[in-house]
């Protein structure tokens, strides 16, 4: 028995060294030299300070920005250290109530009538709570509000949406979608930051 334990310990140590130190640290070295940007979180800087990761949703509440999907990450949502979905099932009263509230809020915000349907992604929380994407339909509805508050023509905003739309990979894998963080950054670049 003692012999077996000794064999296990030695083999375990050797394999740990290779798989849990050499391998990840090699990936660290390669990642940070060849793909430094991605390895560090695809961060966007303004005057040397990170303001966003293009992969992670952040909360946008102002009417002149496009809003991401609702988030269940952390207490107030969009918590980058507490990724999570709501985990509510189809028959959940809580889900029902939350969606009802969000539908009303979305309609008010965007000036929709009570008969107009609201895009699915706009009123449901994502799996991670950090989903940076929204659907084209969702963005198009919000365009009117964004244009009004910014005092520009809606067509110009629609143009930005069109330019920011991500296409499927190779034309077949995935669907059209829009990254809210990039979209809002583009808005600020094209039309200037809104001064409060």
């Amino acid at each position: 028995m003692f012999k077996e334990i000794k064999k296990s310990v030695i083999l375990f140590s050797g394999l740990t060294l290779i798989c849990a130190l050499v391998y990840p640290l090699a990936m660290y070295a390669i990642g940070n030299s060849v793909f430094a940007d991605q390895a560090k979180g695809s961060l966007v800087y303004e005057e040397e300070n990170p303001v966003a990761s293009t992969l992670i949703a952040q909360n946008f509440t102002q009417p002149y920005y496009f809003h991401p999907r609702p988030s269940a990450a952390g207490e107030d949502g969009y918590d980058g250290t507490s990724s999570s979905g709501s985990n509510l099932g189809y028959t959940s009263q809580k889900l029902h109530d939350a969606v009802k509230e969000r539908v009303e809020a979305y309609r008010t915000e965007n000036g929709l009538s009570t008969s107009q349907k609201v895009p699915m992604d706009a009123v449901t929380t994502s799996g991670s709570g950090l989903d940076p994407h929204i659907s084209i339909a969702n963005a198009t509805i919000q365009a009117k509000r964004v244009a009004e508050v910014r005092g520009i023509e809606e067509n110009k905003v629609i143009d930005v949406i069109r330019k920011s739309t991500q296409q499927p990979y190779f034309g077949i894998i995935g669907k059209e979608k829009i990254n809210v963080v990039n979209l809002n950054l583009t808005l600020d670049r094209e039309f200037g930051k809104v001064k409060i």
Partner: protein
């Protein structure tokens, strides 16, 4: 039904089969002792390891020797991992100063990662130091997968009369020659797509609107690659593969789904080579593919129906997006969910708890039948062999011939082992679920009420005993009650199957092989494929239909009548 989704499914099936075929040939070469292209690099490392640890590379082990080696190695793994987690605050690479894990969480996590379950009662980004993730959990992502492959190879050898081999050698070869090289390329690809790989403290940002947000960091890509490839499924972050830093786009998502099935499929092709008849492997593959087509179809259909109650509130018609990411949506989420529960991976790119009742039921059923629809690396193969031997035994009895598989008699000893391997996990699932429902500690953690709450409990023990690791994640499982009972379920589900399978491998290996005559029952044809698939379905249904009736089916019916909980 959307064309894009069908294209995705077809592309997935095609790539898995093509790559599975080539890797399968490579796997066979490795375990048949033939030369492979990585020999010049890896053979010296292996030989050094074997020399220092004094492993006899010449001799095949007996059932007893093999079991002792495997158990000692795995128990030592649990011990070390427990130790690392329990004392993580005293070890390096802990920039967020996370405290030590409680004894029950450390125990649960240690058993979880060593048994290839990767059930997570914790949330990675707020619990685990980089050392715990990278070294503690990281190494088990390799070794637990390699243990599964070693047992599968032992069984292939046994069934084809070659002696079951040496656990240490097969496990090491799997790690260094199969998992590591693929993970290496895989991780680099993931980084290029935006999966992070750093050791920095969490990044504080002032958002575009001027609020603050903290982003969790870490060596994710290296972990992510082996997490998928080894059908481990333990996410670096709580949201697992739904998190954009783990799975940033459709391309990484496709590769992740592909890599879950890659080795399980490759092993079937390798098996065909071992048996000296490719069709033996293809027959098993066929049964799995048939079952998978059924479950994928059901999940996809159930999810595409959407939640009628949401459309009544004024939301556009269509599949529910609660718990799903826009970049994956219906098709890629359904495919991922079906694949991850068919194989014992357990990674998720959407929250299963928020799936439609019937889709959730299908996901559970796949785990309940023992993760044999391709299954975990190695585990899927030896798990399916339980049903294959049982099928041949039943066919033999039905037609009045001595039951044989690959020309070897299936006798009382093997059938006893088969029954143990079949009953232990099922008993763990139903027993623990029934117990949890009847005590306050069990009911305390529920996130959903009504039948869906019961589903959360049933799903947890199913996932544990089947060594899957995915969850109806609403359940708060980080309590002494759940941590300990789930750990026991995982342990039983893993070693309660592995040990009987080694016994079968060793016993079959010593048996005489009879030449097939024209009257023999064959196991390399369509009849066997269909029979095998039916055996899985019928046994699974018989054991678990009552439990599913009270959960998924009850919830579905109540949902149709508009009931909320």
């Amino acid at each position: 039904m959307e064309v894009f989704d069908m294209v995705l499914f077809a592309l997935f099936a095609f790539t898995v089969v093509v790559f599975g075929f080539f890797i399968g040939n490579y796997v066979y070469k490795i375990f048949d002792g033939k030369k492979t292209f990585l020999d010049p690099v890896i053979a010296p490392i292996e030989n050094a390891l074997f020399r220092i640890s004094r492993i006899n590379v010449e001799k095949s082990q007996s059932f007893k020797e093999y079991t002792i080696s495997l158990m000692v190695f795995n128990l030592f793994g649990i011990f070390i991992l427990f130790f690392i987690l329990f004392f993580q605050s005293a070890i390096w690479l802990n920039p967020q100063n996370f405290s030590n894990l409680s004894w029950h969480l450390a125990l649960n996590t240690a058993v979880s990662f060593v048994t290839n379950t990767n059930w997570q009662s914790y949330s990675g980004e707020s619990t685990m130091s980089y050392f715990s993730q990278m070294v503690g959990l990281g190494v088990q992502n390799f070794l637990s997968a390699a243990t599964g492959v070693a047992v599968a190879v032992a069984l292939m050898r046994g069934l084809t009369g070659r002696g079951i081999g040496n656990f240490y050698i097969d496990m090491t070869k799997t790690t260094l020659r199969i998992l590591l090289p693929i993970a290496f390329i895989y991780a680099i690809f993931l980084i290029s797509q935006g999966v992070i790989q750093n050791l920095s403290p969490y990044v504080d940002i002032t958002t575009i609107e001027g609020a603050t947000q903290t982003l969790a960091m870490g060596p994710v890509a290296s972990q992510e690659a082996i997490k998928m490839l080894g059908t481990n499924g333990g996410g670096f972050f709580n949201a697992n593969s739904a998190h954009p830093f783990e799975n940033p786009n459709e391309l990484t998502n496709f590769i992740q789904i592909f890599s879950i099935f890659l080795i399980p499929v490759a092993l079937l092709f390798a098996y065909g080579k071992f048996a000296g008849n490719r069709r033996e492997g293809i027959a098993i593959f066929g049964a799995m593919a048939l079952l998978f087509a059924l479950t994928l179809g059901s999940t996809y259909y159930a999810e595409s129906q959407g939640n009628a109650m949401l459309s009544e509130l004024g939301v556009e018609e269509g599949p529910s997006m609660e718990g799903k990411e826009v970049r994956f949506a219906l098709g890629a989420s359904s495919l991922f969910a079906t694949v991850t529960t068919a194989a014992s991976c357990g990674a998720v790119n959407s929250m299963h708890d928020s799936f439609s009742p019937l889709a959730g039921g299908v996901l559970m059923l796949q785990m309940m039948v023992g993760e044999v629809i391709f299954g975990g690396v190695g585990a899927g193969f030896y798990g399916m062999m339980i049903y294959a031997l049982l099928s041949m035994f039943m066919i033999g009895l039905m037609v009045g011939k001595t039951p044989m598989y690959l020309g070897k008699k299936i006798e009382a000893y093997e059938i006893k082992a088969v029954i143990i391997a079949l009953l232990l996990p099922s008993a763990a699932i139903l027993g623990f679920s029934a117990y949890a429902v009847n005590c306050a500690e069990g009911l305390a953690g529920l996130n959903n009420a009504g039948p869906h709450g019961l589903s959360e409990i049933l799903y947890a023990y199913t996932s544990a005993a089947a060594n899957n690791g995915s969850a109806f994640a609403g359940l708060t499982a980080n309590t002494p009650f759940y941590n300990v009972t789930l750990a026991i379920a995982m342990f039983i589900g893993r070693f309660g199957v592995i040990i009987p399978m080694i016994a079968i491998a060793a016993s079959m290996s010593n048996k005489k092989t009879y030449a097939l005559s024209s009257g023999s029952v064959k196991s390399d044809n369509t009849t066997f494929t269909v029979f095998l698939a039916c055996t899985v379905l019928i046994l699974g249904a018989l054991t678990f239909l009552p439990a599913l009736t009270f959960t998924a089916i009850a919830e579905h019916v109540l949902m149709l009548s508009g009931k909320l909980f």
